[in-house]
């Protein structure tokens, strides 16, 4: 052994400088806490298990309800949420439809509104009982004549109903303004009239008036009655069948604009008395989503909360056992200059670290559950990023709360008593 064993100690004595106050640097605090946890890794893991389950249940619940809510919304979003229809309001006194006050230039008026993507008017045409046929000869037996509904449409209606053509073309504003005798047939109407091509410009007759068929529809996404109708330009209907005013306006809007357009469209169409018109607006997608989530969440959030509470009790229990077990260590640290608050801080940090770990693992498990269930059901997983990031912090908070009582117990340990035990 070397001779100048405590030279340094003597130097310090001679200097006579004493720094009052003991301290515990944060990095040392974290280091001591983590080292103590890692000394018993399986115990730390088991302690964290309750928090893992609680946080996983919460994350999975919130994520799955959001995911499910998003699926329900997206299934009707596309069509219903972007459809607005304006019709005359009903006469309250007589329960009858009022005379339509929709102007002929409805398309122009509404296309100016921000959020409107397509507009078309739609009216039933009263043809006075005339039958439709595709041959010029009137068969006395009437075998080739059919009662087919006739609809007058503005050119924009095809876009507003997302109509697709099987063949030919649709009519345009020129046809409408000139009152050209042209029609577009719905596929069912075309079948009844035995017309399946338009390149030879077949003619049909409504009563005695002839019309050129310029297109046959394949399908429509809205207003399926068009499939079995003869559709003619509203200008033509005005001239030949004395149509008074459009009966309804079909509007396609951007997602989320339906309510707003519903309010604005009646004013744009009937500025003098908007109450004469009524806009049918789809329910707000957001409110649907919220309803779905509320139902699912209420139950499972409670379940997750209970699991989290059980997790907290687990941490509290194990930390308390740990405090009693480590009485000697606490006494030693106090003798070496640790203040009560240093002891408390160490045990709090340990339990917070366990909670943090539990929150981290729990969030991971929860996300895996969401992804797994979504993959199985062909859903798109939806989860708030904040939720996943907040989970470890929630876990740490649970750990802090759970560690409070054991930490107080540890801090109140008297060093004399503690050092007496082995």
């Amino acid at each position: 052994m070397s001779a100048p064993i405590i030279d340094a100690a003597v130097d310090d004595l001679d200097a006579g400088g004493h720094h009052e106050g003991s301290s515990f640097a944060p990095i040392d605090l974290v280091n001591e806490a983590l080292t103590a946890l890692l000394a018993r890794p399986s115990r730390a893991a088991l302690t964290a298990l309750g928090t893992v389950l609680g946080v996983a249940a919460l994350i999975a619940t919130l994520g799955l309800s959001r995911t499910a809510g998003a699926q329900i919304v997206s299934s009707f979003d596309e069509l219903a949420a972007t459809e607005v229809r304006v019709e005359p309001g009903s006469n309250r006194a007589f329960g009858q439809r009022q005379v339509s006050t929709i102007p002929w230039d409805a398309e122009d008026r509404l296309l100016r509104l921000n959020g409107v993507t397509a507009v078309g008017t739609e009216s039933d045409v009263d043809v006075g009982g005339a039958l439709a046929r595709s041959v010029p000869v009137v068969d006395p037996l009437g075998r080739n004549e059919s009662q087919i509904p006739v609809v007058a449409a503005s050119p924009g209606l095809f876009d507003a109903t997302r109509a697709t053509l099987r063949t030919g073309r649709t009519f345009d504003h020129g046809h409408s303004e000139r009152g050209d005798p042209v029609v577009v047939l719905g596929p069912a109407a075309a079948a009844r009239l035995r017309i399946d091509r338009v390149d030879n410009i077949p003619a049909i007759f409504i009563g005695d008036q002839s019309f050129a068929v310029i297109g046959i529809l394949d399908d429509v996404a809205r207003r399926p009655r068009l499939l079995s109708a003869i559709i003619l330009p509203d200008g033509t209907a005005r001239q030949q069948f004395a149509l008074g005013a459009p009966a309804a306006v079909q509007i396609e809007v951007d997602v989320g604009a339906a309510s707003l357009i519903g309010e604005q469209s009646v004013i744009a169409l009937s500025p003098n008395d908007p109450s004469l018109l009524r806009a049918q607006v789809p329910p707000e997608p957001r409110s649907v989503r919220a309803n779905v989530e509320d139902d699912v969440n209420a139950l499972f959030v409670v379940l997750g909360g209970v699991s989290l509470l059980v997790g907290a009790l687990g941490i509290a229990n194990v930390t308390l056992v740990s405090v009693l077990e480590r009485t000697g260590e606490i006494g030693l640290r106090r003798a070496l200059g640790a203040r009560r608050r240093h002891i408390a801080a160490q045990f709090l940090t340990e339990s917070a670290a366990v909670g943090f770990l539990g929150g981290l693992l729990g969030a991971t498990v929860g996300i895996l559950v969401i992804v797994g269930v979504s993959a199985q059901r062909d859903w798109t997983p939806v989860l708030d990023a904040e939720l996943a990031l907040a989970a470890p912090l929630v876990g740490a908070a649970v750990g802090l709360l759970a560690g409070a009582y054991p930490a107080v117990r540890a801090a109140s340990t008297e060093p004399i008593e503690a050092l007496r035990s082995g």
């Binding site: 001779a3 405590i6 100690a9 003597v10 003991s22 000394a39 106090r334 070496l336």
Partner: protein, 236 residues
């Protein structure tokens, strides 16, 4: 036991490290128990003192008072000339961190930490930077002849080696006073002898040492022995 006691030089400068004046400790009842009373004791710098007495004599209480783990109910205690009798818990904790080293019968080493880390613990609460702590821990282990065991767990060390680690931990904070409570109590005779030889060296280096023991042979290694009985000091 060897007879080296008389040969040990006493580099005492006369400056008292510890001055106890009429010190007493009464534990509040009921019934009140007077563990110590009327203790007058001066320990000069560089002195090596043993305190002996049977169990229940009050020697542990005296050690706790000297180590500022407990507060006297009467009298005064000057440490390095500062009156520490009436300090609050926080101030006494700070003095423990800076000026007092403890060696326990049961070693009190942390099983999951290396020998060097256990030694570093002696500086953990006294504002010593981490890098300096690591350097000093190795130095202190070298002083007690255990530098080669620095990364070993205390579990794998022998009893004598464990007590050396504990002594290194007490020394590393450069204390004014080293308090040892039955330092050889858990060791066999040969190992205990090596610990006592280490104390002799520390004493030779100028450290102020107090050893509390019920073992007369251990007590005889000190340059001065104080006996305590029924809470009062007796000359030996």
């Amino acid at each position: 036991m060897t007879a080296t006691v008389g040969e040990v030089p006493v580099p005492s400068t006369g400056r008292p490290v510890v001055e106890l004046r009429d010190l007493g400790r009464t534990f509040p009842g009921p019934p009140p128990v007077t563990a110590l009373s009327g203790i007058d004791l001066v320990l000069p710098e560089g002195s090596y003192t043993s305190i002996v007495g049977p169990s229940g004599s009050g020697k542990s209480t005296l050690l706790h008072l000297l180590g500022l783990l407990d507060r006297a109910t009467e009298g005064s205690y000057l440490l390095d000339g500062d009156d520490v009798s009436d300090l609050d818990d926080q101030a006494r904790t700070a003095i423990r961190a800076q000026r007092i080293g403890f060696v326990f019968q049961a070693f009190h080493l942390l099983a999951h930490r290396s020998a060097a880390e256990n030694v570093e613990l002696g500086m953990l609460y006294s504002r010593v930077p981490r890098r300096v702590r690591a350097e000093r821990a190795v130095e202190a282990l070298d002083r007690v002849g255990l530098a080669h065991r620095r990364s070993f767990s205390p579990v794998t060390l022998s009893g004598g080696e464990r007590q050396r680690v504990a002594i290194a931990r007490a020394l590393v904070g450069r204390p004014s006073l080293l308090l040892a409570d039955e330092p050889t109590g858990n060791l066999d005779t040969a190992t205990g002898e090596s610990i006592l030889a280490l104390f002799d060296e520390l004493h030779a280096g100028g450290l102020t040492l107090v050893v509390i023991t019920h073992d007369r042979e251990v007590a005889a290694r000190a340059e001065r022995t104080v006996a305590i009985r029924d809470g009062r000091l007796e000359a030996v």
